[in-house]
Symmetry: C2
Subunit: 394 residues, 2 copies
DNA sequence: GCATGTTTGTTAGTAAACCTTACGAACAAA
DNA sequence: TTTGTTCGTAAGGTTTACTAACAAACATGC
């Protein structure tokens, strides 16, 4: 009898196979059915309308390479679902039958975004399909952790679900700590969470699609979708700790143990440094985290000393990032954090340091900038998680 | 009139569109036709037979999730093309009709691999579909560069094409320098190549599919396919210079300017270092490249001094890799280079240094090893380029 | 004004791809 | 010998996107 395990590998099969030729971890290797192809094309069409309002069916056909017939078919499906609406006829004078312009209905669905990155408060919001925040809610943590924190989170989501004026597309969560591909928070020390299956918990409770990701990861998704950014970027979040989110070739990088971006405890430099809580000396976190910076700035008597503090910290970040920038051939670095600390002196020092330590810098096409998004960046990143997961749009 | 540019954007279209919502670089966003889906499934089936010889159609159906009917259809196509052959019936006694076992015909096609990474010689080979070298050829460069080197390369390929005993699937090339996605060698200083469209040149001359990639990139592909490696790895090649190839989530990383892996001129440490040819001080290359190492070892009077040299160099590599390992959450590092230099002391120092400087090390699941492949690694990587490009197998 | 040409979106029919259902062949076990 | 299992194939249906053709609605030139 087949044992009925997930691979459906009967013992018969196992006994018969010859030794593996090129052993490798199981690929995503999934079959593709016509239905999947259609979903892909549907997303493709939707993406065009999402990015550019006021396209006609014929425009979309030209842009995607699909025929007008197919596009019409897909569009009618989207119109039936309310995701796309007709905007009227094109005004400008030109030969031919006037085109019917299309528009994404940004209020067809709303979605819920959660930002759990703050130590003292869970932030939540209802967002529309453009990623704009429509309603807000917060839950003070007051030191709550573990189950208690999960309870606060549930109440918070329940409140927003109740306030929703449109059908909800799903829930997106940006959580601190390490979050695996299945939406399990493997470890989030601040919240004292370990192996918390946040995705399942939320999905079961609210019967909605749920996507959970690391907060820095969500942030970089927001930057990628809503900022004017390239397809290869790193976003460094400077807060209580230091984290990073990476997008390579348009796809988020999660890492083999879902711990990509955990840059805070990388040792920087070869000259020691302050002792870190993790036991090592000279971790990035003790150089550039907000608590460290503010403490140092308080000790700085003069403006020159303040500048020196920020310059040094910026340089440390640059030293840590240079190998990453070099190896990945990144051309865009985004910083997120308190503007008064991170923008200006600090950022310039980081950029200059990277330039001095890599070839990329020599080529001169390296850019470093502050995020264009406000502190809603994680919320909006959470929205991207839902949008790309449910609609294939971003 | 439409200007007929590649996007087929008529002026009419351009004038009509509203401002972009989420401006981003053009996605791969391509339509998917039923035909593409089939090609995908065909590769999926082939991949099973490639990895595991002696599977039946029913086995493949179970593993892929496709129905036996569909698998039969795809297999019959593969059999007709000669890629797959029937091996006879399964021997072991069990209920039911005995299965017909399948096998990949590794000699259905051969392919040509080229390794241009050596300063003094172009290496080439005919390989079978398993990536085994069947024939070899070399062309001494004798200092030839530029057009002359291209000429040598053409003659070399022509020779092998002539010696081929099977239809050729394609040509794969691992070239030094920076190679873009279109197979143009943007810059290879040793060969004095700049903007050499190697892919087009070879494709036009030999009328075969050609894939060109950076040599370190090819090497990491070989390691990924033929070594027992994870889906997130970095391979560091230590030779005249230092280069790296990266695979993240199973896909090679090329970088925004196709210069990913160019780690040789990243500055290591915060304590200066020897002056590098590139003008900076303390580049990785002046710490760990083969010429540097051998020179230092010659100066070392005692065995202890030799060990010290190798330890220091290994540490430098570790310092450079630590941030990369941390940020990407890599768990596997592969070294390629002269065993007598790189294996042992050097490699241990690198691993220990990374462990001491990252969290990944603390977790203890970080592995560093020498490549299991011989110096044919680039040749075999070139084969992977062709195999994955033409058959979707690896 | 009117014929001509262009563009849009739809209808009708076709080809491809995978599915479900069903069946004969070939075997083991009772 | 009967029963149940497994394999591979055949037949028929559904989905999908394509090509071909067309009516509607417009600009332009005579």
């Amino acid at each position: 009898m087949p044992q009925g395990n997930e691979q459906g590998r009967s013992h018969t099969n196992a006994t018969a196979v010859a030794p593996r030729r090129a052993g490798r971890v199981l690929r995503p290797s999934v079959k593709v059915l016509p239905e999947h192809a259609r979903r892909h094309n549907r997303s493709l069409v939707l993406q065009q309308v999402y990015r550019t309002s006021g396209l006609s069916r014929a425009d979309i056909a030209r842009q995607t390479g699909l025929t007008r017939v197919t596009v019409s078919d897909l569009v009618s499906e989207l119109v039936a679902e309310g995701l796309v609406t007709e905007l009227g006829q094109r005004e400008d004078a030109r030969p031919g039958k006037p085109a019917t312009l299309l528009e994404m209905n940004l209020d067809a669905f709303h979605l819920i975004g959660l930002d759990l990155s703050d130590k003292s408060v869970f932030r939540a919001a209802i967002l529309d399909l453009s990623g704009r925040v429509r309603e807000r809610a917060e839950a003070q943590l007051d030191g709550a952790t573990g189950e208690l924190a999960i309870g606060r989170l549930m109440d918070l989501v329940a409140e927003l679900v109740g306030r929703a004026s449109r059908p909800l597309l799903g829930i997106g969560v940006g959580s601190p700590g390490i979050v695996d591909r299945g939406g399990v928070v493997r470890s989030a020390p601040n919240l004292r969470w370990a192996e918390v299956p946040l995705q399942s918990i939320l999905a079961e409770r609210f019967r909605l699609p749920v996507t959970v990701s690391n907060d820095a990861n969500a942030a970089v998704l927001a930057e990628h979708s809503f900022g004017q950014s390239a397809d290869d970027i790193i976003l460094v979040q400077i807060g209580a700790g230091v984290g990073a989110g990476l997008i390579i070739d348009g796809s988020p990088v999660l890492g083999s143990h879902s711990a990509a971006g955990e840059i805070g405890h990388v040792v920087v430099g070869t000259d020691g440094g302050p002792l870190c809580a993790c036991g090592k000396e000279g971790c990035l976190e003790v150089w550039v985290s907000v608590p460290h910076l503010t403490a140092q700035l308080l000790d700085a008597p003069t403006e020159a000393a303040r500048t020196e503090v920020l310059t040094q910290a910026g340089q440390r970040l640059g030293i840590a990032l240079a190998p990453v920038v070099g190896v990945l051939n990144l051309t865009e670095i985004v910083l997120s954090g308190p503007t008064e600390l991170v923008a200006g002196t600090f950022a310039e020092a980081t950029l200059n340091t990277i330039r001095q330590r890599t070839i990329a810098g020599i080529h001169g096409d390296l850019a470093l900038r502050m995020t264009a998004l406000s502190r809603d960046i994680v919320l909006r990143g959470a929205a991207v998680l839902v949008l790309s997961g449910q609609l294939g749009v971003s």
